[in-house]
């Protein structure tokens, strides 16, 4: 068959040979990804071994691993990684708790559910910039509504962003508010996938609510929760705009995340090569997290099957 087709149709038939159908269908997507993502990635990998500055006319020279050495021996980088971990950890935890509670709430069918659900989903659709700006205004000690309310209960002015801990809380609250609905969607998906007959069986056994939750509901949402943790961790790792707008990384450097620092290195200092090296270290961490993520997804798939 194939030979005949080759003789008759030449290249076209060769290309559309059923043997190559899979490859042919995948090619357009891979090409776009290659041009826009993979190629730039390799480029920046190359750059990370030179001393290139995008703002300078000087011809870059090869520097080997010295950019990596510089980045890894820079105290400031480690400090920023710690800050990032703290913000990611607390924000994801908060998203999980809120997202979970919201999901429990919306797991039931009730009148106007569609509309009420939209109220909760809207924060995800706002831009980071506007969330940052308005939460900063809410926290402002003179004009802010949050400060205004809390000032009823305190003697001094409530200045949330005045201390490192408060500033981190301010960022975490804004980020968690925005993305808890995302966790909610995932958990909700888990909740609705629990087969109904299991609950009916539990009811017949007169199992307590807690026991029902622990033995029936939880196993079904366990991996989805883990998945939510990993997906949100990876996303929160990139957190930039909210931090940049609410605190600019302050007070001092206490909320400066790795994403903010990477941005400064690349676009304010134009240390192109050094920022590429740092970016690769970040990417390495993200790939490790991605593997964990995939592991979690596979676990989930096995459980269902």
């Amino acid at each position: 068959m194939a030979d005949v087709a080759k003789k008759q149709g030449g290249f076209g038939a060769w290309l559309f040979d059923p043997k190559r159908r899979g490859a042919l269908l995948v090619t357009p997507a891979i090409v776009v990804l290659f041009v826009m993502n993979i190629f730039p990635l390799m480029w920046s990998f190359g750059l990370s071994f030179f001393n290139y500055k995008a703002s300078s006319l000087k011809v870059p020279t090869f520097r080997g691993l010295s950019n990596y050495e510089r980045v890894l021996s820079d105290e400031r980088v480690w400090e920023r990684f710690q800050t990032t971990a703290l913000i990611v950890g607390s924000s994801v935890l908060m998203q999980l708790v809120i997202g979970f509670l919201l999901a429990l709430m919306f797991a039931k069918v009730f009148p106007m559910r569609r509309i009420v659900l939209m109220l909760v989903l809207t924060p995800m659709m706002l831009s980071f910039v506007s969330v940052g700006v308005f939460f900063k205004l809410f926290y402002e000690p003179t004009f802010g509504i949050v400060s205004y309310v809390i000032n009823f209960f305190t003697e001094d002015h409530f200045v949330l962003l005045g201390s490192p801990g408060g500033a981190i809380a301010g960022i975490v609250i804004a980020d968690a508010w925005m993305w808890s609905p995302f966790v909610m969607l995932l958990v909700l998906a888990g909740l609705v996938s629990v087969p109904k007959y299991l609950y009916e069986a539990a009811e017949i056994d007169r199992a307590s609510k807690w026991r029902t939750f622990r033995t029936i509901t939880f196993p079904y949402i366990k991996s989805l929760l883990l998945l939510a943790v990993l997906f949100r961790t990876i996303e929160t790792f990139k957190l930039f705009d909210i931090v940049y707008i609410i605190t600019e990384g302050g007070p001092g450097s206490s909320t400066e995340t790795i994403a903010v620092y990477l941005y400064r290195t690349a676009f304010q200092f134009f240390k192109t090569s050094q920022s590429s090296a740092l970016a690769y270290i970040v990417l390495f961490i993200v790939i490790v997290l991605t593997n964990l993520y995939l592991y979690a997804v596979n676990q989930r798939a096995e459980e269902i099957d």
């Binding site: 920046s44 990417l283 993200v286």
Partner: protein, 289 residues
Amino acid sequence: MARKYREIGKAGWGYTAITTIVGFIYFSPVFWIILTAFKTRRDALAVPPKLFFTPTLDNFMSVFYRTSITTGNSQATDMGLYFFNSIFIAFTSVGLAIILGTLAAYAFSRFPLKGNDTYLFIILTTRMMPPIVVIIPIFLMFRLTGLAGSYWGIMLLYTAFNIPFSVWLIKSFFDELNPEIEDAARMDGSSERRVFFGFCIPQILAGLAATFVFGLILTWNEFLFALLLTGVETRTVPVAMARTLGGEVGVDYGLLAAIVTLFLIPIFFVTFLLQNQLLRGVTFGTVKK
């Protein structure tokens, strides 16, 4: 085979009342933003904060026309163009990503390649990395190819960012379908094209809709690439929004709120229309690998 959409309980209007209260508390920051869109600067910064005030439409006017406070002259702001750009760029690139993603997903699901999982992993990795990792080389690449400032550049970029997610999600929908039906159709003499368009696609339309909403939410508010890679004619709303963040005054809260409110409408509407599919999409996409 496809899992049924199941609920774990039913509740009445009393429950609606409770959830509505919780929903409104959660929604209140958004509500405050929308309220601010109707306030003058003095009202927006009033102490104590004002819940009741005389609403003004000035902010919405100045989204499209700005009056110079010095000369009093009015100028169009091009915001109409930026809204068009945002909608055009987001819808086109998410649409493109879904088309390319569907083709690839179909292949990954039905005609596995050697090293199928490796390809899938590499594709997913590109979605997982922080955008700043690639922004430097993309920036340099755009500089060499002249893509900077063109519709093509930013659309291809957004397409690339949406492909991984689309491939994974859509593949899981294909995996849910029963291949026996397809094989039966092939036996009956249906062409590959007919199997794909006539049998597979109609069954996963809901999933495609969910993918579309996800892609749209992730693309709609993108700022960094838009700021650096769009030109005067291709600028998107999130970039133009930044003009309200400082100039002759600090943040123009009313104007920002007005832009945010207007910019929320299209995506809110699309999400509302496709809400059930969104829930379905999440279930499918995560239940199966």
